[in-house]
Symmetry: C2
Amino acid sequence: SSTPPMSPTDKLPDLPPSRASQIMKFGYPGFDNLRTFEDFVLSYDRKTRTAHWVCEHLTPDRMVYVPDIDRSKCDFRPDESIHSYFQSQNEDYRGSGYDRGHLAAAGNHRRSQNSINQTFFLTNMSPQVGKGFNRDKWNDVEKYARKLAKKHLNTYILTGPLYLARKEADGHMYVRYKVIGKSQVAVPTHFFKVILYETSPNNFELEAFLLPNEVIPDETPIEKFHVPLDAIERAAGFLIFDKIPKGALKKVNGKSIGGFW
Amino acid sequence: SSTPPMSPTDKLPDLPPSRASQIMKFGYPGFDNLRTFEDFVLSYDRKTRTAHWVCEHLTPDRMVYVPDIDRSKCDFRPDESIHSYFQSQNEDYRGSGYDRGHLAAAGNHRRSQNSINQTFFLTNMSPQVGKGFNRDKWNDVEKYARKLAKKHLNTYILTGPLYLARKEADGHMYVRYKVIGKSQVAVPTHFFKVILYETSPNNFELEAFLLPNEVIPDETPIEKFHVPLDAIERAAGFLIFDKIPKGALKKVNGKSIGGFW
Ligand SMILES: [Mg+2]
Ligand SMILES: [Mg+2]
C-alpha cells in the first residue's frame, strides 16, 4: 500500500478500546475455548458442555430501555463454532425438567438485537432448576446486579456453574452431578455470580454470590448467599478479577476491607 | 545490537525442532495451564487438581537403559508453578487409600535424571487404585506402550483421567467421583491411554485404551480395554492427535481402516 512508514516519534492514533478488552479489564480467569460475543465474553468447557464462566461489563448508559429490542425474537440455538462432539443441543434439555438458564442474562444486553440474540446461544446456557431458581431467586440476583449497574460507573459481572463436593454417608467427599441428553450436558450443583462495581473513580466494591441449583424459598434474602471470593475461586479452578489494583477494592460483601487484598 | 538486518533471501539457520514441538507433533488437545517439561508436555486442570492430559514421544534410542538414572532418587513433590489454591499436595494422598499414579510413566523418561525427576511432580499424578490397577493392569498398558516404542520409529502417547457418567437407580445419568484431601483432588473413574506409532515412514497405527480405576483381574487381556477414539474424545472434551495427515493412519485398535478418518 502507499501508507508511508511510521517514524518512531509519530503518535499512534487513539483507537477506542475493543469491547472485549473493556469487558475483561480486570483479567481473564482462563483462556479455554474463548467466545468473544458482541457484548460478553465466554469460556466454554467442552467436557461439561456448558461454560466455565461468562463475563459482562455494564454501565448506566448501557442499561437504558430500547423499545425495538425484543427478547421474544430470540431463539435458543446451538453454537456451531464448537466442534459437534462438544456442543449442547436444544434436544438435550427437552423433557429434562431443567430450564435453559442464561449465564449472561438476556436483560443485560438490550442495546442491540444482535447482542441479546447472542445471549441465546446454548454455550451461554446451563441446566437450571426453573421454578424457585432460574425464574425466581437466581433472577433476583440478576436484577440486583442490574440495579447496581444503573447506579455505578462500571459494573463487571462474572457468572458460572460449579460442581461442589459433598460428604456422603460413608464419610468421604464426592462430586456428583446429573448429566442430561445425548450430549450429557452437566447439571451444575451451584452457580456463582461475582459483581464488581466502581462506586467512584478507581474505588470498587465486590459481592460474591454462591447459590445451590435448587428451589430456594422466596423469603430467603440474597445476602444469605454471600461467600468469600476464594471459596468460589478454589472450587472453580480459576482466579476472579485478579487484576484489580491493590487498594482499589474497598468493600467485599458489604464489609470494608483493610489494606490487604 | 550490531547484527546486520537479514535480507529476505538469507536462509534461516537450521535449528533443531524444540523437544515440545516433537512431542506435540500431532496437535495439542488444548492449551489450559500447559507445563512443558524436559521430556513430556502436560495440561493441568486446576479444578480437579490433576492433569487434563499428558503427552509423550518415545523412540527406540530413547528407550535404552542408562544405569546411572535412578528412580529411587526421585521424590513426589508439589508443582509450585501452580497457584497454591489449585495445587495438590502429598498430604492429600496420605491415608486416602490411593496411589500417586504417574500419568507420564517414570520408566519412559530415563535418559536424564532431570527427566525422570520431573515425572514425580504431583501435577503428573492422579489418585489411582494401587493393587490391581496402578501396580498391575495399568502398568501392563504402560509396559505395552514401551514395547511398541522399542520396535517403531516414533511413538506418541496421550494419557489422562476421565470422569464418566453412569446410570443410577433412578434411571438418570450421573457423574460421581470421590475427592481426597484438603485440596479435594479428584479420583478419576477411568484412565485413558492413546498410543500412536509409526510403523514405517508416515504410516501409523493407533490404539485407544480406556480402563476403570479399580481392581482389574490379572487374567483380563489389555485388548479388552480397546475403545473407539471418539469415545475418549467426547468424554474428555478434546480431540486427540487430530493433526495426523489424512490417510496416514492405517490401523485403529488392530483393525485396518479405509480411506476415512
Ligand atoms: Mg435466567
Ligand atoms: Mg504407575
